[in-house]
């Protein structure tokens, strides 16, 4: 195994906040890049003030949301609203190979961080911008966090049950894999190109375009067939059953029932996803259920029949799953060759999933204020150069001095002056 990580020696100036930008830079860091995260006391990342927090802890440094997206980075606290702050930003840009940003275009312009601005100080920079709607166009400065992006990009209309309002996905889904993933792919492609040619470039990911790109077939159904698809629940044309089935409810320990936030009380309902695409899998499901009489009904013998009688099929399977623990249903069906998976809760994936545990997907990192907390690992593994989270997220401004001295080559006097002037702040 190589000692060297792929991106060792690559330098990243991370001027982003919230989700897409920080998650992209986090992965660059996990694979060896040195990442300097730029924030300021006057404009900290909004996620720093959002839950979850460890019990009895508050402040900018302990948010589990922020920390999970920023491990392994150095934090430079820099006030970009002051001219001297912008000068230092340019010094950081000169040092960097990659610049990451996800503000709206007008903010980028106000801070003098457009691509045209950056190439004046670093002609070879790879500069990645990930605004909501793109850098130009009539809606370029529209506001929106992921909560608004999901509906605008079409996910809410298409997901969920047809008799329900478009309630969305329960999280700001495109923010986490689709948009940072596309950004990372583009940055790595640009990095290869730069290694070959010496030339940097501008990367622009409009979050709406990136998100829409993951919904291609629905769009082509409209552009080609004029059909407007809508919510279809958990069913698909080529499988039946294909849904989540109710399993044995779980009695909650009393301490969980008491005194917890009413917003987020742990649920006692449990479910198992079951999908049958082939007749072989159907036979496996019947066997696992003990071949009840109804399974032998002709109308369920073929996929077409199962689709035509899907309501009844689902009801009967639900009657069978209802009194069994979700993970038992999963294991039993898997033993019979049927694609099945417990609808896992966060507790399941974090504490109980033996598979994720053995693979070490979640990583626990010690943070000076937040303590030992869980971080998501990288979403892909390389056999010879496995990425790893090397340290917990930084406290706000934790590395300001270090970055100024070691990276920006400032002397102590200059740093002290800038602190006094609240440029480093």
């Amino acid at each position: 195994m190589s000692e060297k990580l792929p991106l060792e020696g690559v330098k990243v100036a991370d001027f982003s906040w919230f989700g897409v930008g920080p998650i992209t830079a986090r992965l660059l860091g996990a694979f060896g890049a040195q990442v300097v995260r730029v924030e300021s006391e006057s404009r900290p990342d909004g996620l720093r003030s959002l839950a979850p927090f460890p019990p009895d802890k508050t402040g900018y440094n302990v948010s589990g949301w922020f920390n999970n997206y920023n491990p392994g980075k150095l934090s430079l606290s820099l006030n970009l609203n002051l001219p001297k702050g912008r000068e230092i930003a340019y010094r950081l840009v000169r040092w960097a190979d990659i610049f990451v940003n996800n503000f709206t275009p007008s903010v980028v312009e106000r801070w003098g961080l457009t691509y045209d601005d950056l190439v004046k100080v670093n002609p070879d920079i790879i500069a990645a911008y990930t605004p909501m709607q793109g850098l130009d166009g009539p809606r370029r400065d529209y506001l929106g966090f992921g909560a608004v992006l999901g509906p605008v990009a079409g996910y809410n209309h298409l997901s969920g049950f047809p008799d329900r309002e478009p309630v969305g996905l329960g999280t700001n889904y495109p923010d986490y894999v689709v948009n940072p993933g596309h950004t990372l792919v583009a940055i790595l492609a640009a990095l290869r190109y730069r290694r070959k040619t010496g030339r940097g470039q501008r990367i622009e990911l409009a979050q709406i375009e990136s998100s829409v790109s993951a919904l291609g077939p629905a769009l082509m159904d409209y552009t080609v067939n004029g059909r407007v698809q809508t919510r279809a629940g958990n069913r698909v044309p080529n499988a039946a059953p294909h849904n989540a089935f109710p399993c044995q409810r779980v009695a909650l320990p009393l301490w969980l029932e008491l005194g917890l936030d009413a917003l987020e009380r742990p649920g006692a309902d449990r479910w198992c996803a079951i999908a049958v695409f082939t007749d072989e899998q159907w036979q496996g499901l019947c066997e696992a259920m003990g071949n009840p009489d109804w399974c032998r009904d002709e109308k369920f013998a073929t996929l077409l029949g199962r689709k035509q009688n899907e309501d009844e099929l689902e009801r009967r399977i639900g009657e069978w799953t209802r009194d069994k623990p979700a993970h038992d249903v999963m294991d039993l069906l898997q033993a019979h060759g049927v694609p099945a998976g417990a609808v896992q809760t966060a507790q399941d994936v974090l504490d109980n999933d033996e598979h994720l545990k053995e693979r070490g997907y979640y990583v626990y990192l010690e943070h000076p204020e937040a303590g030992l907390t869980a971080y998501d690992g990288p979403g892909f593994r390389l056999s010879k150069t496995p990425g790893r989270l090397r340290s917990a997220a930084p406290c706000l401004g934790e590395h300001t001095f270090e970055v100024c001295k070691d990276i920006l080559q400032m002397d102590d006097g200059e740093i002290a002056d800038l602190v006094a002037e609240q440029v480093l702040f």
Binding site: S2, H157, G170, I203, V212, N225, A244
Partner: protein, 427 residues
């Protein structure tokens, strides 16, 4: 066309199933020479809808079209010894192989990572599966739904009374594919620098796990489970301006009173200007609106007295807002709300997206000529723009085995041999 693409020196053999389609597409549209190696009966994606004009035909799947742009197609049976020998000849010319067989299957065919390394020492093998190459669930049966379920993502979506919801459009496959493409490019960069290839292991379950947002960290830190709550509603309180609102032609999604957007009084001003504020300019509504935001709501939900006091006036504000929005179209609301910096988005349908002024201004959609259909089809375009090495749909999706002669010719297989192999069902 000058080839200014980022991956113009990279050849990819894609022998994966549906889970790898988007990975291969990303690499192909970035300029890699992606050869889709299909079994003689065709890639399973060819049987997935929707279909062109609803003509159910493996050469007319819009699903497959969308996900195989810029690629070439050959047929090859890996079950056949001659097929495997042929695959090895191709692999000698390939930088990357993408696969999604159950772990160990390629080894059993003599085509696993170690075997491929003997043919091409610096090869990169990307294996995309439900649960990854090792671990107690690595041999579990999987599909998109199972990935969504096991990752914790599905638990978070939908109304509390319903089964947990699936996200539209095989997002488990898409997420795994995006992670795989990232891993492949990371491995390629490493190979460029060191000459060393490696295996990329992607588990759909892990690829999706980050999309739980804060759920894992909330459990870790507070031992509280985030769960599905439908339209972001607060239990016991109808909070005006949070969630879906029906309008003349569909829905808008409102997220008023949250940090980042304009505060609630800006919404009230809009209603006043239009003469539709009804009694919201009077007490107790006017004062309540001045402080209406997430802080007020989060303080109130734990306080039974506050809930009782607020329930009726909040319901009235909700009612007036519903009336106001219900008289307008979603585009009208979206554009005017955004002009006022109010956090409101329209709930777009596929039609809305195709007609979207921003996407069209930016020429997001790309027309691709299908001469054989006598038509040009409109495709979703670039997910990301690279100024020097553009993402681009370089050619229409391939017919099954369309490039057999061309690709096999490139590894020295002439027409006679091709005929023999075709006759034997190898290709």
């Amino acid at each position: 066309m000058t080839d200014d693409s980022a991956l113009n020196d990279i050849r990819v053999l894609d022998i994966s199933g549906e889970i790898g389609l988007y990975c291969a597409k990303l690499l192909a549209d970035l300029g890699a020479d992606v050869i889709k190696v299909e079994p003689p009966e065709g890639h399973p994606g060819r049987r997935s809808g929707p279909f062109y004009h609803d003509e159910i035909d493996p050469e007319k799947s819009l699903y497959f079209f969308n996900l195989t742009t810029s690629q070439r197609s050959i047929t090859l049976s890996l079950q056949n010894p001659d097929g495997r020998a042929l695959f090895k000849r191709l692999a000698a010319t390939a930088d990357v192989v993408v696969e999604s067989f159950p772990p160990g299957h390629l080894d059993s065919l003599g085509l696993g990572y170690e075997h491929l390394c003997r043919i091409r020492p610096d090869i990169i093998l990307a294996s995309i599966t439900g649960f990854g190459q090792w671990g107690p669930h690595s041999h579990y049966q999987w599909c998109d739904l199972v990935g969504l379920a096991m990752s914790g993502v599905m638990w978070l979506a939908g109304e509390p009374d319903d089964p947990p919801n699936r996200i539209y459009g095989n997002q488990g496959y898409i997420s795994a594919s995006i992670q795989a493409a990232s891993g492949i490019l990371m491995a390629l960069y490493h190979r460029d620098v060191t000459g060393e290839g490696q295996q990329v292991d992607v588990s759909m379950q892990e690829a999706l796990a980050l999309a739980q947002e804060t759920a894992a960290q909330t459990w870790d830190m507070q031992k509280v489970l985030r769960r599905r709550i439908g339209a972001w509603r607060v239990p016991m309180l109808q909070v005006p301006g949070i969630g879906n609102y029906a309008c003349k032609d569909g829905y808008v999604f409102c997220y008023l009173g949250t940090p980042g957007g304009a505060p609630w009084p800006v919404m009230l001003d809009w209603m006043i200007e239009e003469g539709e504020a009804q009694d919201l300019t009077e007490e107790p509504y006017f004062s309540l609106i001045q402080e209406l935001g997430l802080p007020l709501i989060t303080q109130s939900v734990a306080d039974a007295e506050a809930i009782e006091r607020l329930a009726a006036p909040l319901a009235r504000i909700h009612e007036v807002l519903s009336d106001f929005l219900g008289r307008r179209t979603k585009v009208e609301i979206y554009d005017e709300a955004q002009r006022r910096r109010l956090l409101i988005g329209m709930v777009s349908t596929p039609k809305d997206l195709v007609e979207d002024v921003q996407l069209n201004y930016r020429r997001y959609f790309q027309d691709v000529a299908h001469l054989e259909l006598g038509e040009t089809l409109r495709y979703p375009g670039a997910p990301v723009h690279l100024s020097e090495t553009p993402w681009r749909i370089r050619r229409r999706p391939p017919f099954l085995g369309e490039h057999n002669a061309e690709v096999y010719g490139e590894v020295g297989i002439g027409p006679d041999e091709l005929l023999t192999l075709t006759g034997a069902g190898v290709i």
